[in-house]
Structures are given as structure tokens and as C-alpha cells.
């Protein structure tokens, strides 16, 4: 097993240093953790947003690398795409085309019409297997868990072939334990955001969470275990800010500066940023068949997003529940530019929020946008209207 630590001196760092390092890692387009892992002989499984059962790749000793776009210009990828497409497709391909990350397997999902095309596009450009993982889209069929268990078994065989390492049930159970711990720590991070939001800003929480997509989860667990007590003990002012839920970051990610801009005027007490990392809500059982446990957790103990239809999780009702659960006073309803599911959901969300009399602020973003002045002024105006209403 590879023994790469990120960063090697992590456990002695102060909170500020730790947050700075996490931010640097997130914005480093050379992907040092992925390079180091691969350089030491570790396989890398790249998976596109939103949810991927990372435990299966992890159990093969691979680094599951979350492909969530990148802060790069898509100079080579642009010629592989037409117009009217979201940015995350292009930058995710760009980091692979330019060799910033080297993969052993790429997996995308039928989350949207564009993302499904990525298996073909990657497959035409790289020698390694590039596949679609068909997560069930009829979540309400009683046959869905059995089907998904079979699909995960197919993925297990693909991972074994790509990495040259067997994925045993015991290895899977061990990986599930690591991820259960990770989910628990992320729940704690989000509880802190919700209960004492002045102690962890939206951008700080984001970098702490997002780096988990670039390191093995054991490492991420170490980071969170160190960061959480330091955050809780933080002696910081408690400015009077409005509590909001940020919705629309399930796939393409808003730039960190945008999240920071939001955090300057609001407490983001809950959000759907990188929701795939928090998709499964509770511990996945580690007794019994691990693939079945993962399949059932995906379908029956999970969050929501615009890219999954499930009669049990009407999305506008879920958003309202998220707002109420976080005691938020308003919502920021965003969508990535050219994101069909996100833009379509905006209509349902805003109508439901109107009905519920929850104030909301609507916007669009692109991962590589660089100017936030206009948005910040609009948001400040929105917040002022609420605070002095």
C-alpha cells in the first residue's frame, strides 16, 4: 500500500496553515497529490461528477480522483467540443489531455446529456478504459438495488482489470469503514457550519471538503480530524449575517472566489457543493454483501440533486427541508452556465420558494469566471433588503 501523506508535515500545522495548504492544493493545476500517488506506483481512477462509489476503486488500492473541472484554460479540449456546453466538461478533459493527471480508468455517469458523452470523448483520446457507470435512473423500481449491485460488480471487475489488483469483499468492507469515517467527519463539518457558522466560513469548509477528492480518504480523514477541533476552538468575532443555503453546486463548482464573495455577506449554513461526497447520509453497513450495501445506500439513504429523479425525494421539497433544517433565512439558487438540469431545476426551486415565502437570490456561474464585483453588489443588496426589511 502506498504511504503518501498530504502534506507530509500536516499533523503539526496550525489551522491557518492547514487551510492555506488545502486552498493551495485545490488551486494547484499540477495536481501534486495525484502525481505523487501515481509516481509511487499507485493507480488512479478518475471519475466525473456527481456520485461514484469510490470504495470500489479504493479497495483496489487506487486513488479515486474526483474530476470536478479545473482552474485551467481548455486550450486543447476546446477543439473537442462545440459551443453551448458547460465548462466542467472541457476543463476535465483538458487536465487529462495536457498530462496534468494520468489515469488508469475514467468513469462518467448518465447524470446529464453532456456528461454521458464523456466516455466516448475520453475513449477516443486515451488508451485506458473510459466507461459509463449506469447508476439507476428508475430509483423507485424495486429492481433497482439488485440491478445496481450487478452494475457495481461489473465496475469491480473493470477496476480489477485496470489496476491489476483484486477487489475482495474484505478489502471493500475496509474501504467502506474508511469512507464511513469520512462521511461522519463531513457531517461534523457541516454541523459546525450550521450551528456556529462564524467559526468556519463557506470557503474554508469548501476547501477542507473538496481536497478529499484529490487524496486517499485516510489522508482526508486525518486532515478533518485535525481541523475540526481547531475550528471548534476558534476564538473569532461573531458578525451579524444572514443565514443562507447555497444550491446549484452539485456538479460544476463555482470558483473559490465566488464562494468567498458569498461568505463575506452571508453565513452559508448548508449547500449542495460537491454533494456526491455527502450523497450517502449514514454509515454503510460493513456486514453482509458490501456491493449490495453500497447499492442500497445509494438508493435508499441518500441526498438529492437535480440529476436524480426519485419520487421519494421531490427536489423542491428537499430544498425547502434543507433550508428549514439549517434554519436558513434565504436561499441562493444558482446554476452553472449551460447546465441543463441545473437551469431547469431553478424554475421549480424558485416557484417552491415563492410558495414557501423563502427569499431567494438567483444567479448563474462558470467555474472560470474571474469577476465577482457585480454579483457581490447584487448579493449585498439582496442581503440588505432582508436585514432591514
Amino acid at each position: 500500500m502506498n504511504e503518501i501523506r498530504w502534506p507530509p508535515e500536516l499533523r503539526d500545522e496550525s489551522l491557518d496553515e492547514l487551510l492555506w495548504s488545502a486552498r493551495e492544493l485545490l488551486e494547484d493545476d499540477t495536481y501534486p497529490t495525484v502525481r505523487r500517488w501515481r509516481g509511487s506506483g499507485g493507480p488512479v481512477v478518475g471519475h466525473f461528477q456527481v456520485y461514484f462509489p469510490e470504495e470500489i476503486a479504493h479497495a483496489a488500492g487506487a486513488l479515486p480522483f474526483r474530476m470536478r473541472g479545473a482552474p485551467v484554460e481548455p486550450l486543447q479540449a476546446d477543439s473537442r467540443f462545440g459551443s453551448y456546453l458547460c465548462s466542467i466538461l472541457k476543463t476535465s478533459l483538458e487536465i487529462a489531455l495536457t498530462g496534468r493527471v494520468e489515469l488508469d480508468l475514467f468513469v462518467t455517469h448518465p447524470i446529464c446529456d453532456a456528461a454521458r458523452n464523456l466516455a466516448g470523448i475520453f475513449g477516443r483520446n486515451f488508451e485506458y478504459p473510459c466507461q459509463i457507470l449506469y447508476l439507476p435512473q428508475n430509483a423507485n423500481s424495486v429492481h433497482a438495488p439488485v440491478y445496481l449491485r450487478g452494475e457495481y460488480d461489473r465496475l469491480r471487475r473493470t477496476v480489477e482489470e485496470a489496476t491489476g489488483r483484486a477487489v475482495t469483499d474484505d478489502a471493500l468492507r475496509a474501504s467502506i469503514r474508511v469512507y464511513n469515517r469520512n462521511r461522519e467527519l463531513l457531517r461534523e463539518l457541516y454541523a459546525l457550519k450550521r450551528d456556529e457558522p462564524w467559526k468556519v466560513s463557506a470557503d474554508e469548509a469548501y476547501v477542507l471538503m473538496a481536497m478529499g477528492g484529490m487524496v486517499r480518504r485516510e489522508e482526508h480523514n486525518l486532515v478533518l480530524q485535525r481541523a475540526l477541533p481547531l475550528l471548534r476552538d476558534r476564538d473569532v468575532p461573531r458578525p451579524d449575517r444572514i443565514r443562507v443555503v447555497f444550491e446549484g453546486g452539485f456538479c460544476e463548482q463555482p470558483p473559490l472566489d465566488l464562494i468567498r464573495a458569498v461568505a463575506r455577506s452571508c453565513y452559508v449554513v448548508d449547500d449542495d457543493l460537491l454533494i456526491g461526497m455527502r450523497w450517502i447520509l449514514h454509515d454503510v453497513p460493513t456486514d453482509g454483501d458490501p456491493l449490495e450495501a453500497l447499492a442500497r445506500a445509494y438508493l435508499e439513504d441518500s441526498s438529492y440533486s437535480p440529476v436524480q429523479h426519485d419520487d421519494r425525494k421531490k427536489k423542491e421539497e428537499m430544498l425547502v427541508a434543507r433550508i428549514r433544517g439549517a434554519r436558513a433565512e434565504a436561499a441562493i439558487v444558482t446554476a452553472a452556465k449551460m447546465c441543463e438540469p441545473g437551469l431547469e431545476e431553478q424554475v421549480a426551486y424558485t416557484r417552491a420558494l415563492d410558495d414557501e415565502k423563502v427569499p431567494f437570490f438567483v444567479s448563474e456561474f462558470e467555474e472560470n469566471m474571474t469577476s465577482f464585483d457585480h454579483l457581490e453588489i447584487q448579493l449585498e443588496t439582496f442581503v440588505e433588503n432582508l436585514m432591514f426589511d
Binding site: 439488485v146 440491478y147 429523479h309
Partner: protein, 430 residues
Amino acid sequence: MSTTTDIVGRGNAEGARLFKEWFGELGEAADQGRGAAYVFVMGSLAELLRCFDMPVVFPEINSLQTAVRHVAHDYLNEAEDYGYSPDICGYVKADVAAQLRGGTLPMGRIPRPSIAVYTNACNTYIKWAEIWERMYDCPIVTLDVPGSRQEGLRPGPGDPDFENDRRYVLGQLKELIPLLERTSGVPFDIDRLRETLGWANEAATGWKRVLELNRSTPSVFNALTDGTIYLGVANCLRGTPQGARYFEELVEEMELKSAEGIGTLTDELYRLLFVGVPCYPIFRRFGELFTEWGGTFVHSTYLWFASGGAHEGHQYDLSRPLESLAEGLLLGVRDAMDSMFFQTDPLLRMFHDYSADGVVFHPIKSCRTVSTGLADNRRAIMARDDVPSLFIESDMMDRRVVSEAQLKNRIDAFFEGLASRRSKAGASTA
């Protein structure tokens, strides 16, 4: 006895008549306040739905008709005023506006949905159906049909991965039937399914043969223009005796044209393949931009995916109707999806089988399913073979992103290039 004059052109005229008749029936259903089954072209399940006496509405076809009739912009504007982004599918928005208008369309009125049944061949189907669910509180059912996982990986019957998919699709069909019974009030009769599957078999056989006959030189129909009419019938009358008869007669027409050398153009100079969705806001003119140069489309991926994979002529086994329907749905929808996501090899085969001179890629703003991979696929095809190609972007609905002058400029340059290649090839063989 039919003469050549009676037969040639019959497919187009009869297609238009059947389409009008079908739309008239939808209008009657709307007037009677009957609910409809809303479906989509890629995996409509019309064969099953017809067993429940439900009018079947194809919103994609309704929407494209607004563009062909030059009124789409009114519908798009209305949906955008309602809140929908300019950057989402124009079909969805035209339908939203039609629903807001009580089902009123330029061709007549459509009934409201009692249920929506759709596959996942296009993700927007799911988002679209969610809109009806919110508007009408009607049941919506995603018939989840897993597609190919990787280019070149197509497991067949007997393979454990295929069998996992097949069990899943069959299981979902069995869950759907009681819901259809409750929604329609009509009990399921397997013999009726056997009957509709039989008609679908006949139509599929004809559809496959019609497509094959366009390998003739000159080509016997234009896949972009005539083909769209045939496609409309293939979808709207799937699983009906009228649909079966239509394709039987269409085969007769095309065989006659092929035998007598009657081409779709008087002077066919260039045989082209079309990849994408047509430019409906200027549909006729779009076709003319090619035919004016003697170019005709001999095949298209549109006739492939928009018929839900029926182009393969899949035959249902009537001795085990439900199981065979599940298998046919799985194979057909997977094939339709392959034509969009993994199209390099089949497109190269099509290029040679149809003696094509070039490929026209037409990605559109509205449809990311079809359009996302086209630029990369074009690169791959050009890297593997000497295939002249044209890449033009516009839309199937939104005239704001259709620039006829720009399209003409690019198309003219493409044909000039084809002419130059031909003249150089002629000089080198002389």
C-alpha cells in the same frame, strides 16, 4: 394496378395524410377531455401503451412542428417569460408554452397527460417529465435502459452483464403494466400486445429495407427531408396496422425507384451523411442549401436514434411478448444511444456502405445528447479515414442562433472543396 406515377411520391403524401389524421385524433381526445400517455421517440413503448387505448402524444414532434411552421419563437419566449433559461432545450420550452396554452399548437390541440412514460435515452426526457408531474400531478415513469458502457463493448444475450440489464428492464415493464391499468382503466391483454408487436415487426422490417435501399445510386430519398416524414410515421404509428401498411408501401415505392434509377434529385452529384438534428426553423431552406449543389443526404444518425433504434429491423418474438419487448427495448435504445455516444465505427461503416462523399456534422444548441461529442468524433473520423466533413452549428428550434448567411457560407465552401477534390481525383486518374 399501380403505375410508376401513382407510386413515386406516395410515401411523402401518405405520410402527411396519416400524420394529419393522427393529429386530428389527438384533437378529438383533447376535446373529449381524455388523458394521454406522453412519450418520446427514443423508446416510446407505443407497442405496450396501445394496449391500454390511450392516445399517445410525442411532445418532441409537436415542438419541432412549431419550428417548421415558423412559430417556435413565440412558444420559446413564453416559456422564457415563465422562467426557463434561453440555454435549455427548445423542445422543452415549446412544450411548456403549449401546456400553458391548454395544449394548443399550430396543428391543433393535444390532450393533457394522464401519465408520462419515457426512457433515459435522453436525460432531458426525465427533467421534461418532471415539469408535467408538477403541472398536472400525473405519474411519470422512467423506464431505465442501460446503454453501452464503453466504445466497442456490447455484451449480448447470455453475457452476465447483458442479463443483469435485461432482468432490470423486464422488471420495470412488469411494474409499469399495473400502473397503466390503473391510469387507463383498461386491463392488460397479452394478446393485444402480441398484435401490436406484430405490426411493429412489420414496420421495422420495412424501415430497415427502406434505409438499405438508399444505398442505390442515385439515392431514392433524401434522409434529411423525406426521411423526417418517414420517421414521423415510424414513431407516431408504431405498433399499428396503418404504420405496418405504410412501410410495406414505402418499400414498394423505394424498390421501384431503385430498380428504375429514379433518384431523389434529378442530378445527384454528392452523397452525404447527416449527423445531428435538422435545423427546423429554416427546414426547407436548410435542405436547399445542399440540394442546390447537387448534394443529397443518403443516411443520417437522426433516422437511427430518433426511431429508437428501429432501423435495425428488430423482430419481437411473439411467443414471449413481454420478455421480447424488454429485450427489444434494451437493444433498440442501446443502439440509439450508441449512435450518439459511440458513433465513430458505425459512421465510418455507413460512409462506405452508402458510397458517401462527405459527412455533415450539425450540433445544435438545444440538444447536448446529440451534440456534445460531435467535434471530437469528427476529429477521430478524419484521423482514421479520408472523409471530407463539414461542421456547422445552429439549432433545431431557436432561430436566434440560426444564421442562414453563415450556414450558406460554410456549406458553399464545403461543396467547393468537394468539387475540387473530385476534379483533382479525375485529373490524377486521367
